[in-house]
Structure formats: structure tokens, C-alpha cells
């Protein structure tokens, strides 16, 4: 280990003593960042983190809602729309003839509009009659707890 020259050592110790003795604003507490600056930094970090976690929560919520829409409520795997309408029985028998088909349900119908009291029509929606036994819809919700639609599933 090399020896520190005596002159350097005395200068160093003098500087240390001088630094310790001085009570300049920097030495008297201004060494820490100001509370206002620290509060702003904390607020920015907290806000960024909160938005980050809220956005990840939203992603989870979206996945949950899509699962709710499709996972439980939709009980078929694919839909086919024909160029021309056909007899329901002929569609059912033709589809069943293909290997790998588990079940099939056929929908007849037309577009419908609600006529409001003021005579205006609402938005159009498909109005359908279901032929088949697939029982695509679980009908978990209905009037008075489900009694009105409970018999659905091929025997309306």
C-alpha cells in the first residue's frame, strides 16, 4: 500500500473538518430533494403505475366479457348461410350426412322491426324460428326466473 504524502493528508483532513463545520444551506438539510419535487415525482410514478394496472385490469375484464358472451352462451361451432332458402328437413339431413357433424339446428325467419308508440320503427333485427334439437341457447335468464322458456330445446 502506498503511503499518502503528509501534505496531501493534512489538506484532506482540513477539507473534511471545514466541510463538517460549515452550515451552508446545502449542509443544513438541503441535501435531500425538496418535498415538493419529491411529491411530484411520487405522484407521476403513482399515476403511471395506476394507469398501467388499470389497463391490465381492463384487458382481463375484456377477456372475461368475451368469454361470457361466447363461452357459455353460444353452443355451436360454426354457422352456414345458404344462397337460397331450403326446406329445413333437407338442410338437416344434408348436414348430418357429413362425417364429423355432432348436431345441427336450422333457422328460418326474416328481419323484424319494433313499431313504437309514436309510429316510428326501431332498428332491424333477425326474427327466427328454430328447427332442430341442438338447443343452442342455455336460456339462463328469462321472465320470473326462467319458467317461460324452460321448455325450449326442441319442444317449444
Amino acid at each position: 500500500m502506498s503511503a499518502v504524502p503528509e501534505r496531501t493528508k493534512s489538506r484532506l483532513m482540513g477539507a473534511v473538518e471545514s466541510a463538517s463545520a460549515r452550515r451552508s444551506p446545502a449542509a443544513a438539510g438541503a441535501g435531500s430533494p425538496s418535498p415538493a419535487r419529491m411529491a411530484l415525482t411520487l405522484a407521476t410514478l403513482a399515476m403511471g403505475g395506476a394507469i398501467f394496472m388499470a389497463s391490465l385490469d381492463l384487458r382481463t375484464s375484456i377477456r372475461g366479457s368475451v368469454e361470457e358472451l361466447y363461452g357459455h352462451a353460444v353452443r355451436y361451432d360454426m354457422s352456414l348461410r345458404f344462397v337460397e332458402p331450403h326446406a329445413a328437413d333437407s338442410i338437416v339431413s344434408a348436414v348430418r350426412a357429413t362425417e364429423g357433424v355432432g348436431d345441427v339446428e336450422v333457422w328460418s325467419g326474416a328481419n323484424a322491426w319494433v313499431k313504437h308508440d309514436d309510429g316510428l320503427l326501431g332498428n332491424g333485427f333477425p326474427w327466427r324460428g328454430s328447427h332442430g334439437t341442438l338447443g343452442c341457447w342455455p336460456f339462463r335468464c328469462s321472465r320470473d326466473g326462467g319458467s317461460a322458456l324452460a321448455t325450449y330445446g326442441g319442444s317449444w
Binding site: G31, S65, V66, L80, F82, W127, G129, A148
Partner: protein, 245 residues
């Protein structure tokens, strides 16, 4: 009828008697119930009613359940079905896998959430810059203290760790504040999203994965923000630091 239709048409509620216009003719109907049946708006009735109202019992739509689950199996089945039905004289206009429509819908909605994630990451970067600025100022204000520490034998590593430690405390405090703050923010975001796009359940507690992801991000931001101030603190000559006013 579907829940989505009930949401679109408040007049359609269970027990309501309504007039529907179908094929240009009016038909009286009673709403007997509301069901969860996917994202579409539609109403179902007995097939005999359809025949009576529109005078046609024929159908144009078939929904099929595969005997075996799986993307490849379903894709193969829908292709074979289209081919077989064409051969039997039943021309198919369009066919769609539920799995595909679900993925399309989910991707569309997640894209919106993705923008929010991106914006939040930008906010975290701004927070990191603020932390770097604060720590740089702290190092400058503590120049003489750093000089004293070095004079009494503190190594570069120790001085660097002091700066990093302080930055870490600030970052962890920010994280601790962010967790409770995220709850009302999640509720507000979910409600806004539900009004514009699709009703989603509002998170009443921070999700575990999100909290851990934020912890990891906070540590990375803290290290990045404190690296330069810590390096600066170790490079101040001792004599200059002690003489700093």
C-alpha cells in the same frame, strides 16, 4: 330475445306486448324472456309462427356443432361441409367459425386496451425521467456529503448503492401509492369502456398479475433512472467534492 337486443330496444322487456313489422306486415308479439346468446341481436320464436307470418317455412341459416373440438378439426369440417352441401345442391353463401368470430371480436377490443397500456407505459417513462431528474439534483446537492463519505473511506460501490437505494425507496413508494389508486381508476376505465364498446366487469381489486408486472416495471424504471446519477456521484473527485459550496 337476446340480451343485446333488449339493451338496444328498451321497449322489449319480458312481459311486453309489442308490434313487430315483418315483411311489411304488422304482427303482435309478446316478449317472454331475455337470454344470453352471444353478441348478436336477434329474437326467436316457434318455427310455426315464422311460417304463419311470412308464409314461408324454408330456412337459410344452419348452425352446426362439431363432434370433436379443436381449431383444425372445425376448420376441416366447415370446408368439407361447404363442399358436400354444394354437391347436394345446397349452395353456401358464407360460413363462419364461432371461434374465428370470437377471436376477431376479442382482438378488436384488446387493441383498444392495448393503446391504453401504451399510454400508461409512456406515463411510467415520464415518471422515470422525473425520478432521474430528482436523483441527479439530490447528488448535486449532496456533493459535499459524498466528498466526506469518500474521505472517510467509502468506495464507489457504496456511494453508488446509496443513490440507488434512495431511488429504489422512491420507486417503491410510488408503487405502493399506485396499487390503491389503481382501484378507482380501473372502475372508471371499465365503465367508460363499457359505455363505448362492450360492458365489462369493473375490477374492484388490483389483479395479482398486474401488481407483479408493475413491481417489475418499477424496479426496471428505478434502475434506469438512478444509473446516471449514481455514476455521476462516483466520479466526483474527493477534493472537489469537499470544496463544493
Amino acid at each position: 330475445m337476446s340480451r343485446r337486443l333488449a339493451a338496444d330496444e328498451p321497449a322489449l322487456h319480458p312481459g311486453a306486448f309489442v308490434t313487430l313489422v315483418i315483411g311489411g306486415r304488422e304482427s303482435a308479439s309478446e316478449v317472454v324472456g331475455v337470454v344470453d346468446m352471444g353478441p348478436g341481436t336477434s329474437a326467436f320464436t316457434a318455427p310455426e309462427d315464422v311460417t304463419r307470418v311470412i308464409g314461408d317455412s324454408r330456412a337459410r341459416v344452419a348452425v352446426v356443432k362439431s363432434a370433436r373440438a379443436g381449431v383444425a378439426t372445425e376448420s376441416d369440417l366447415i370446408q368439407r361441409l361447404r363442399r358436400d352441401l354444394e354437391e347436394r345442391g345446397l349452395a353456401v353463401e358464407s360460413g363462419q367459425l364461432v371461434r374465428a368470430s370470437r377471436a376477431a371480436m376479442e382482438d378488436h377490443l384488446l387493441m383498444v386496451a392495448g393503446f391504453l397500456v401504451l399510454m400508461s407505459q409512456l406515463t411510467v417513462v415520464v415518471g422515470g425521467l422525473a425520478l432521474a431528474s430528482t436523483m441527479s439534483l439530490a447528488v448535486l446537492q449532496r456533493t459535499r456529503e459524498i466528498g466526506v463519505m469518500r474521505a472517510i473511506g467509502a468506495s464507489h460501490r457504496v456511494i453508488g448503492l446509496v443513490v440507488l437505494g434512495e431511488g429504489t425507496v422512491v420507486a417503491l413508494l410510488g408503487r405502493a401509492l399506485a396499487v390503491p389508486l389503481s382501484v378507482p381508476m380501473s372502475v372508471a376505465v371499465a365503465r367508460s369502456f363499457g359505455r363505448l364498446m362492450l360492458p365489462v366487469p369493473a375490477g374492484m381489486a388490483p389483479e395479482g398479475g398486474a401488481v407483479l408486472a408493475w413491481l417489475a416495471l418499477a424496479v426496471v424504471v428505478c434502475l434506469a433512472a438512478c444509473a446516471w446519477p449514481a455514476r455521476s456521484a462516483t466520479r466526483i473527485p474527493t477534493a472537489q467534492a469537499l470544496a463544493y459550496e
